[in-house]
């Protein structure tokens, strides 16, 4: 604000300077009122030619004008408008009028008369068009003023007869934005005496559907659409006209017409329209569906995209028409041919797999009647077949999306479009492939894939792109397959994938988990083969570390969960492996009831109810810590220690509660540190003696501060109660720091400002958490706030004393947990850190390092997540990835795929750099903006407003900068 004011002052000042002192006195008077209008007036008067005036106007347009001086400026502009002879200057003035009318807080009704007046006298068509535009702005600023609106509509109707297309365009736009159904209009009487009379806005606009100028036709349709958007019911009469415009010569008209037809089809889906050249009748929505389908073959790809998109939202269309969109009748030499899809289906039905694919395998069968072959399939025929094969990928994507929407509303259509979607997995553009995989996943809940379809789906698993593979894994998780061969095929392909791209390990395992639990009965007959057991012979025990073997086990165990008989097929080592995996990969391996076997079963204790029991345990632990103040110092410390340990273990065991457990543990650790710091012996010593001893306490204070930032920013799902608690701990830590500093320094002088800031912080805490304050009655802050009036007036020494005593008296605040608490985590998938081959590059040049990481529960990662590269010499570089590098594969999940550039001076040997991810926070959003610039008394990490928290394990990458060759 201050800066803005400064700028304003400066501007006024500069205005004054512009005026030569020998100006006439009355002009000085005008100048003295602080407005821009005067300066503008002077400028315009000074302007010798039209170009110069235009220059001034352009300059003026760049500045903003405040609401109260708008009217003055407008008066001046109008004055010049009437005087001006040059069209371009008038045009600019009028456009400025429009701009100024948009100013907030200015009511433009005072210029309506002038603008309309100008409209009647204006000769230039361009200026007329601009005037209509300005009137449109004014009209939309005054939505409630009916008389103004009526006048504007009349003006628009009058000028509809203009010969210049721009004026007609604008008039139609005005009608679209302001016209009402209930107010009938009289059309311009002079031009069409026969048509004079009362007509409503719609029929006036629809007259211009047949205008000779394509731009006017477009504007007319747009105006009609605008009417629709404003909630007016469009008359069905125009349907026929709109349909005729679908075959217009100009793409913009066709595009708008598609929208128009769509709107009508949504308004009157059930009304009946006749089919020309026959006596039949169809529902309007079906008719329009057919017509829009036809547009998927349009010559312009923009129209094709529009049409394909529109089809997706016509859900009321009847079944017959919908299925026609996938229809393709093949013929060869006039003989009916089966499509590849049909052939595949038949093969499947006849139980024969993998054909010999003979020459003439697709030999045409029966002869077709020449009359029955319809080449321009009328209506919806094959719209999607064409759309999916379109040259432009935009059209293909639109078609895939439309398919998805339609398939979701009609299961039988979903069944039919399956083949086509599967075909799209082979598209040349990755985006299209990805989109079709996603779509298939969305509709795949109630369909079963045939073997040949599954085969195509699985074919994509070899894809180089990780996104595609992961999308496919996701798809397989949701897919139902028809027989055991399919399961086997899927497993085989997934293992191949695992072999080819070992980094997909987790994703593949997860995929097999779902595959197993979905098809227990199909897995059952495969078990002996999968586990390579033999009825008579013992087979060698497989390697437990082999990811492929684990994958098989995950499949089997998950199937066994729903199929108790399966366990009888397991051999001994399988049970051992089960217990191992149940422990190490508990999220993938379910608890099994393995009755009768010696092994087991402990796993089943952590059955489905375990989450609740863990929850109870967590709550119990917290409650226990709440009783802490009743304990003796060493006892309470021990209790905290144990609780922290328990919670950490709980977090490891129960992933659902990891966030909450971790949060609690960290909070308790802060409390523990605080407690320890306050129980140091040196509090009882004289100040000069404790110079050395308080090192530990200082470190504790610093650590608590760090932890509080973690608590505040790393966890998502915090409520203001928790935030307040965290801030409370932070205040305690600050107070501790103050007290410690006071004890070290000789004088208290440098502390004065810190104290002030501390008080400010307390104050802002009070303001920020006003609603939470009742919970803090007994706490450190509560007590401080009681003493607040005294504190702000007292001296520093006294303040420190009060702080010290309150701090030592204060007890731990009980922690309540919110419903959902998640810790932001990041895992760097790539680089793996396993490579022994150093990245070699020449000194002074850069090398790009690919980074691939998954982030969970990170809000707004684009601005918060950074990559840190730590060189062996201690140099740390923080790199901010581009926003485009983040993808969002699921809720609360992000993928970061980026490149960081490394460079360094020459080394003699390869060395490790450490790459890790940081979560940046900015405490300007927190309660302590005033603390910001205080860096002198505090160590830098706490002092800076912005900080970073490492939230991933760091990965070591071997690099080797070689000296440049001369």
């Amino acid at each position: 604000m201050a800066a803005h004011l400064k700028k304003r002052v400066y501007e006024e000042y500069s205005k004054v300077i512009q005026i030569p002192p020998e100006e006439a006195p009355q002009k000085k008077l005008r100048l003295s009122k602080p407005s821009k209008s005067a300066a503008l007036h002077i400028d315009l008067c000074k302007a010798s030619g039209s170009t110069e005036a235009l220059q001034y106007l352009l300059q003026f347009a760049r500045k903003s004008v405040e609401a109260d001086s708008v009217e003055g400026v407008i008066r001046i502009l109008l004055e010049h408008y009437y005087k001006e002879t040059d069209n371009s200057v008038r045009l600019k003035i009028v456009s400025l009028l429009g701009l100024l009318s948009k100013t907030k807080g200015f009511s433009p009704d005072c210029i309506v008369d002038d603008a309309i007046n100008a409209l009647t006298t204006e000769k230039s068509h361009q200026v007329l068009a601009q005037l209509m535009d300005t009137l449109l702005v004014i009209g939309s600023r005054l939505p409630d003023n009916l008389s103004v609106r009526q006048r504007l509509i009349e003006m628009a109707c009058k000028h509809l007869a203009d010969t210049y297309f721009g004026v007609r365009n604008k008039c139609l736009e005005v009608l679209g934005h302001l016209g009402t159904v209930d107010s009938p209009l009289s059309r311009d009487g002079e031009a069409h005496p026969s048509l004079s009379g009362l007509r409503d806005v719609q029929s006036v606009i629809s007259d211009y559907f047949g205008d000779q100028e394509p731009r006017v036709r477009t504007a007319a349709i747009k105006a009609m659409l605008q009417l629709h958007e404003r909630g007016m019911k469009i008359n069905q009469i125009i349907y026929e006209q709109a349909c005729r415009l679908l075959s217009d010569d100009y793409e913009q008209v066709r595009s708008a017409a598609v929208q128009m037809v769509w709107v009508l089809s949504q308004l009157y889906p059930e009304s009946i329209v006749p089919i020309p050249s026959s006596n039949e009748e169809v529902r309007l929505v079906d008719d329009s569906f057919g017509k829009i389908s036809h547009m998927v073959n349009d010559g312009s790809w923009m129209v094709r995209v529009q049409a394909a998109k529109t089809l997706g939202s016509m859900l009321q269309v009847s079944h017959y028409f919908l299925e026609q969109t996938l229809d393709k009748k093949l013929m060869s030499d006039l003989r009916r041919k089966r499509t590849a899809h049909e052939r595949a289906k038949e093969l499947y039905a006849s139980g024969e797999f993998s054909s010999g694919r003979k020459w003439a395998d697709d030999a045409p069968k029966e002869r077709l009647d020449t009359n029955a072959v319809n080449l321009i399939a009328s209506g919806a025929c094959g719209a999607f077949v064409h759309g999916l094969e379109d040259e432009m990928y935009e059209v293909r994507i639109a078609a895939v999306e439309a398919l998805s929407l339609l398939a979701q509303s009609s299961p039988s259509f979903a069944e039919k479009c399956l083949d086509f979607l599967v075909d799209m997995f082979n598209d040349e553009i990755e985006e299209v492939r990805l989109q079709s995989i996603h779509v298939l996943r969305e509709i795949s809940t109630n369909i079963i894939l045939r073997e040949d379809q599954l085969d195509t789906v699985l074919g994509g698993l070899g894809d180089k792109s990780r996104d595609i593979r992961e999308a496919l894994h996701e798809l397989i998780c949701y897919t139902n397959v028809s027989n055991k061969e399919c399961v086997q095929l899927a497993l085989l392909e997934l293992l191949k994938n695992l072999n080819k791209y070992p980094t997909d390990r987790n994703s593949v395992w997860k995929c097999l988990k779902f595959l197993g639990s979905r098809h227990p009965t199909l897995v059952l007959p495969l078990v002996p083969e999968l586990l390579s057991t033999h009825p008579y012979f013992d087979t060698p025990e497989p390697d437990m570390d082999d990811p492929a073997y684990i994958a098989v086990l995950v499949l089997v165990f998950n199937a066994a969960q729903a199929c108790p008989t399966m366990s009888s097929l397991f051999s001994d080592h399988t049970f051992r492996h089960y217990t191992y995996l149940r422990d190490s990969l508990s999220h993938l391996v379910p608890a099994l009831r393995l009755a009768g076997r010696g092994v087991d079963l402990v796993g089943s204790a952590a059955g489905p109810g375990s989450v609740e029991s863990a929850q109870v345990f967590l709550q119990d632990s917290l409650n226990r810590t709440n009783t802490i103040h009743s304990l003796e110092a060493p006892g309470s410390q021990d209790l905290l220690d144990f609780t922290i340990r328990d919670l950490q273990r709980l977090g490891e065991l129960q992933t659902e509660l990891a966030g909450a457990a971790d949060f609690c543990a960290t909070y308790l650790r802060c409390q523990l540190l605080l407690m320890k710091a306050l129980q140091e012996k040196f509090w009882n010593m004289a100040v000069p003696l404790c110079l050395k001893q308080n090192v530990m306490a200082t470190a504790a204070a610093r650590q608590i501060l760090e932890e509080t930032y973690k608590l505040e920013f790393v966890y998502s799902g915090l409520e203001s109660r928790q935030v307040a608690t965290v801030h409370h701990v932070r205040l305690q830590a600050r107070a501790l720091q103050l007290v410690l500093t006071a004890r070290t320094r000789k004088g208290l002088e440098p502390l004065v400002s810190s104290c002030d800031k501390f008080l400010q912080e307390v104050d802002s805490f009070q303001r920020q958490f006003l609603t939470e304050l009742p919970h803090f009655q007994e706490s450190f802050v509560g007590k401080l706030l009681e003493l607040m009036p005294r504190l702000s007036s007292c001296k520093t020494v006294e303040l420190i004393k009060i702080l010290q005593s309150t701090l030592r008296q204060s007890s731990m605040l009980p922690l309540t947990l919110p419903q959902q608490l998640h810790r932001a985590t990041a895992t760097i998938i790539e680089p793996t850190g396993e490579s022994d081959n150093p990245l070699k590059f020449t000194t002074g040049l850069v090398v790009a390092l690919d980074i691939d990481a998954t982030l969970e529960h990170v809000q707004d990662p684009q601005s918060r997540v950074k990559v840190q590269v730590l060189y062996p010499d201690g140099q740390a570089h923080v790199i901010t990835p581009k926003p485009g590098d983040f993808r969002k594969p699921g809720p609360d999940r992000h993928r970061l795929i980026t490149q960081v550039y490394l460079s360094h001076s020459a080394w003699t040997d390869p060395g490790h750099v450490e790459v890790s991810l940081l979560l940046a926070y900015s405490s300007s959003t927190s309660s302590k903006p005033s603390w910001a610039d205080n860096t002198d008394s505090l160590p830098p990490p706490e002092g800076a407003i912005e900080g970073t928290i490492p939230f991933s394990k760091s990965v070591k990458v071997l690099i080797m900068p070689k000296p440049a060759r001369r």
């Binding site: 069409h192 030499d333 006039l334 694919r357 080449l375 070899g462």
Partner: protein, 602 residues
């Protein structure tokens, strides 16, 4: 009525040897100049003697247009221009101009060097011929002479294939050449604007076929190749050097890239390398994907596809080889086939049609034992697959193009007569336009109904506008008066005054006069007054003036004078006079007055 005449010299109800003569608006144009692959005698070239018995063609043809570089569309070009003799311009697109001479040279080598024919065109002739070529850009309007202009549209099919619009005045013809309405891996789909030509000459190779989607074919192809390679087998794909070969290369190249495969792909060297070079250059003629990604990487700079060497065929391990020619009848593809045929792990994929008698045709028909020259037999154990990749529009595609261009007449070429018949029927039924399918040498005449543009003087327009409302309303036609002047090949509509001024004529006025006798006992002046009153009461909407001093009444421009008859003072003679513009009113008045005046006048 103006006419457009079309005479196919080749490709009339036939495939091959495309050569179509069009005369439009007094201009003669030759569309394509191809050869027939099936013949080795004179029949392989079009019969140019149809145009002129002896002598050069230059004076009979205004231009020659070549649609694309396939030999059945350009093979006879050097023969026509150099041996028969033609010096006028030859139009073709840039890629066609670049690739065409390579193919012609190759063709010449085979016929002259291998088959030993004489009296054939030489390398020099090809060069000379190419010097006459004028390159075309897409959508560029080229003015051949003052009246004839041509414009090329994208046709898909092969690199540089174009459809051509030929326009003289307001008459126009579109020739499609070969085109493809479905995009493939390296080319886009044909496109034309709504140019509403008088005649659309379209190919109709697949007039009776509707093809399955290309995706199924591609998927099958890739799956077969992938499976074989994974098994460790070798894949042989016999191709012809240009066109489909590039498409398949792109297909495999992207698949290899996508799937991160390592098995080598080879391409037999020679002519194809040169051609690939041109594919790299003419990126703008390819499809969306290649155009958009070429900044990062030109798709035709293959990463996985390497040139083939004879010795590689014996290398162990999986590989994919593209080898020419496409029907396994000779050359490298046959050699490799012989080497690999014995192993059932290997596979041969025939991507196109095979002529009867070739090995390709035999193995496709399931023959497992082949007799080779020298009495040896070859056991075919490898898998044989057939995959059709063809780049012509199918019946639906042709209909789609007609819908895009909206022609007034249709003419089919480049297809078999029986199939054309079917399509012709369909076109006539669906679009209700005339469709022709002339045989070679048969002339089709299409009468056109061209618009005749007339210049109108601005003053006249303005006057008309001031008379009757501002805007022309498309729903209400309006008549206007003017004079049409036809002078020096131009038509102008001007106002009559101006026309007279220009032609140096003086204006003649035509007046009708008429006498009406009236029984009226009053004096002349009174009669006149009574007439005035009467007319005024009858003719409400007109201006009626009473001019007593000249003894006349004026109704608009009609003058009514009264004089007494010399014989009978009660018989008044009325003299009516009107100009021809007011004929209607004048005759009405005369009949009105003949009836006499009503006795009671207010």
């Amino acid at each position: 009525m103006p006419e457009i005449k079309v005479t196919p010299l080749g490709a009339g109800q036939d495939v091959g040897r495309s050569c179509i003569l069009v005369s439009i608006g007094g201009k003669n144009i030759m569309l394509d100049c191809g050869m027939h692959m099936g013949f080795n005698d004179d029949r392989r070239f079009p019969d140019f003697s149809y145009i002129t018995q002896n002598g050069r063609l230059t004076e009979f043809l205004d231009c020659v247009i070549i649609s694309h570089f396939h030999l059945d569309h350009c093979g006879a070009l050097p023969y026509m221009s150099e041996m028969v003799g033609y010096d006028g311009p030859i139009y073709m697109t840039h890629p066609t101009k670049a690739i065409c001479p390579i193919l012609l040279e190759d063709f010449r080598k085979i016929t002259v060097d291998k088959k030993g024919e004489t009296n054939f065109f030489t390398s020099q002739m090809i060069k000379d011929c190419m010097k006459k070529v004028v390159p075309l850009n897409l959508h560029q309007t080229v003015q051949v002479d003052e009246e004839l202009e041509i414009k090329a549209y994208y046709a898909g099919h092969v690199l540089g294939a174009a459809m051509v619009q030929i326009k003289v005045g307001s008459e126009s013809v579109v020739y499609t050449g070969d085109y493809n309405m479905t995009p493939d891996r390296h080319l886009g789909a044909a496109w034309i604007d709504k140019c509403r030509p008088d005649l659309l000459i379209s190919e109709s190779t697949y007039a009776t076929t509707i093809r399955d989607s290309k995706r199924c074919r591609e998927r099958d192809f890739l799956k077969k190749v992938h499976e074989t390679v994974e098994r460790g087998g070798k894949v042989l794909i016999p191709v012809f050097a240009l066109g489909r070969a590039q498409e398949l290369c792109i297909l495999l190249e992207t698949f290899w890239e996508r799937m991160n495969l390592k098995a080598p792909i080879y391409f037999s060297t020679g002519m194809t390398e040169k051609a690939n070079h041109y594919y790299k250059l003419f990126i703008t003629w390819t499809n969306q994907k290649i155009r958009k990604t070429f900044v990062q990487r030109n798709m035709f700079e293959f990463k996985h596809i390497k040139p083939f060497d004879r010795s590689y065929a014996d290398n162990p391990g999986p590989m994919v080889v593209f080898a020419t020619p496409g029907m396994l009848h000779a050359g490298q593809s046959l050699q490799i086939f012989k080497k690999w045929a014995g192993n059932e792990k290997n596979m041969v994929i025939m991507p196109g049609y095979c002529v009867q008698g070739t090995i390709g045709h035999k193995i496709l028909n399931g023959q497992r034992k082949l007799e080779l020259e020298g009495r040896s037999t070859l056991e075919v154990k490898l898998q044989v697959e057939y995959m059709s990749f063809s780049a012509h529009a199918d019946a639906k595609g042709i209909m789609q193009l007609i819908r895009m261009a909206e022609p007034r007449n249709m003419l089919l070429v480049h297809g078999e007569a029986v199939k054309m018949e079917f399509l012709k029927g369909k076109i006539e039924q669906e679009f209700s336009i005339d469709c022709y399918m002339p045989a070679n040498g048969e002339t089709t005449t299409v009468t056109t109904n061209p618009n005749v543009p007339v210049d109108i003087s601005l003053n006249l327009l303005k006057r008309e506008m001031s008379l009757g409302g501002t805007l022309p309303d498309p729903k209400k036609p309006r008549t206007m008066h003017g004079t049409l002047i036809m002078k020096e090949n131009s038509l102008r509509l001007v106002s009559p005054e101006q026309a007279m001024k220009e032609l140096g004529l003086s204006e003649h006025h035509l007046r009708f006069t008429c006498r009406v006798q009236l029984q009226d006992p009053h004096s002349d002046a009174d009669t006149l007054h009574r007439i005035y009153m009467h007319l005024k009461s009858v003719l409400k909407g007109y201006t009626t003036q009473h001019l007593p001093d000249s003894m006349s009444v004026m109704v608009e421009s009609i003058v009514v004078k009264v004089s007494s008859s010399t014989e009978d003072p009660n018989t008044k003679v009325l003299l009516l006079s009107w100009s021809y513009q007011d004929e209607e009113l004048g005759s009405f008045l005369s009949t009105l007055l003949k009836k006499g005046l009503p006795s009671v006048l207010c």
